[in-house]
Symmetry: C2
Subunit: 360 residues, 2 copies
Amino acid sequence: VHLSGQIQVTLVLPEIPPIDAAARDAARARLDQLTKPRDSLGRLESLAERLAGIQGRSLPRIDRRLIVVAAADHGVTAQSVSAYPAEVTTQMVRNFLDGGAAVCVLARQFGAELRVIDAGVRERIEDPRIVDLRMGPGTADFSAAPAMTAATATRAVQAGIDFAGEIDADAVVCGEMGIGNSTAAAAVAAALLGLRAADVVGPGTGVDLEGMARKRRVVDAALALHRPDASDAVDVLAKVGGFEIAVLSGVVIGCAAARRVVLVDGLISTAAALVASRLSPASPDYMIAGHLSTEPGQPHILRDLGLTPVLDLELRLGEGTGAALALPSLDAACRLLSEMATFDEAAVSRRQGDAAAGIE
Amino acid sequence: VHLSGQIQVTLVLPEIPPIDAAARDAARARLDQLTKPRDSLGRLESLAERLAGIQGRSLPRIDRRLIVVAAADHGVTAQSVSAYPAEVTTQMVRNFLDGGAAVCVLARQFGAELRVIDAGVRERIEDPRIVDLRMGPGTADFSAAPAMTAATATRAVQAGIDFAGEIDADAVVCGEMGIGNSTAAAAVAAALLGLRAADVVGPGTGVDLEGMARKRRVVDAALALHRPDASDAVDVLAKVGGFEIAVLSGVVIGCAAARRVVLVDGLISTAAALVASRLSPASPDYMIAGHLSTEPGQPHILRDLGLTPVLDLELRLGEGTGAALALPSLDAACRLLSEMATFDEAAVSRRQGDAAAGIE
């Protein structure tokens, strides 16, 4: 329960079911029957097991895949924390709709649907394809005032949860766009993990060393000013977060509740997943980290979430690109599990010793 | 020129054209116009550049993809260096033809043709789908005698070159199968890189620590017995190599000569690429390392070849699986380069400073 002026907004968190251990164990048992040395498919084997547990079926598959890009603007851009002007958020939303952004190309390549959420960009774009979850025309500059009220942060998370409850997808890629949002995400991560700005602030869209120093000062000063409560993720979101981060954290929770695979992307997306994990501690069971970002804050969050990234292609673009690129590996894990022949089916001899010892 | 009894066999190496620097630079220039922070697509950008240079076109694309699996048997299996009996090589060749092996699943997933080469399995399989490049019913046990004659090694490399000259593909995945071949590949790598067995011998299909120690002793003893000439890759192949390793090294050379992208897989495939690099020093320009294997020898070879692997999924299966899994990343690099909108096309503002300075 959070109080904001006269308005009291209560976050209604859905129940997150436990992982299906029987399905996971059945997948593991089948992996050991397939015509390959045991564990030789490495991380694809653990991915196949996890997907089975998430979906509750021993032969998981990812048929319907959805990439969500939540966009919002950030008042903190007034502090010159980005290499790009704030108008680029709106311009890129148009680019997402027109199919010209990187994530659009990957959505086509991997047969994914792309949904763009306006969580609060400065300039409203009238387009029926945009999911309207606007919380306002960008956050306040959190170097001076809280980014948003606790009530707004709560409504944003709830909007993400509700959105995730209405979609139809086996796997959801959590992407974002928002000039200034690597500063907000770094502040959220620092607050929740008890780190300093120096640990989590990176170049974002590509600021120089002077810009990085400025970002660090802004983050450390905001944390000193607002003193967000590390045990209250909504308080952290309200004081130094962003609308798209709040909405995405809700999307993560809603997807976990519906047993959907949640693919986490770079720093901002992973910060949203961290918020989700603090609100719904079972949600990381449904998360897969698509890639390791070059942003220094992301590995700290992944470690806290207990996630090992699938790819390391040195991306730092966001939009969901790094998470989308992991989809073929997930598909491969599913297909290898279901389509490979077993030792018996292919009449291939087992390990020396195993056959004699009756190990199957 | 190598002498073997009365027979003199001369290796005819094709000319390998230089990388097309103009196409590579055009790709680079376009990457910097696309609607993303500069370099934010990380390794996908350098892959796009490399593919452009390899194919000699500023917008590369990989339409036709071929996975080659070269299979052969190894006399050194008499020394108990593998967790599986030697009959598994032949059994797995049947599994490749029946579509039940891991690489078959990936070939279907990625729309690749699969060709199986019999480079010399113990038991000949009569099947018109098999490419017959048999050099004999497996190598000799190199713990006692050279694996093959220099003439046979030369003929095997030549057969691979000729095969590669006749195929039709933009990218070729170099896979292999052969019980005992991680021992041969480790010996080849140790000989050519001046390393000891302890640096390059791993568990292969999964021998235990005792088996690993046995493998190391076999490799060190064979190198001491035969003293292969590190400056003569054919001599190394003859003394401690394998038929599939020799044939694959020829495939690599032939692909490079035809400007095909060569995707290198795990320890054995990478050892074949190392042989290719010593015979045709320009061939690494056409190689892409698909993945980092957990076999300890492979990173040593990648370093020598100057290659950075695309994926690290902790695979150690061979068959071309790790290289095949990199195909979607290569496709993504090509598609992002050609399909993303430029800043001008999408009317997206450039970096602050860049626009004012007229940097495009």
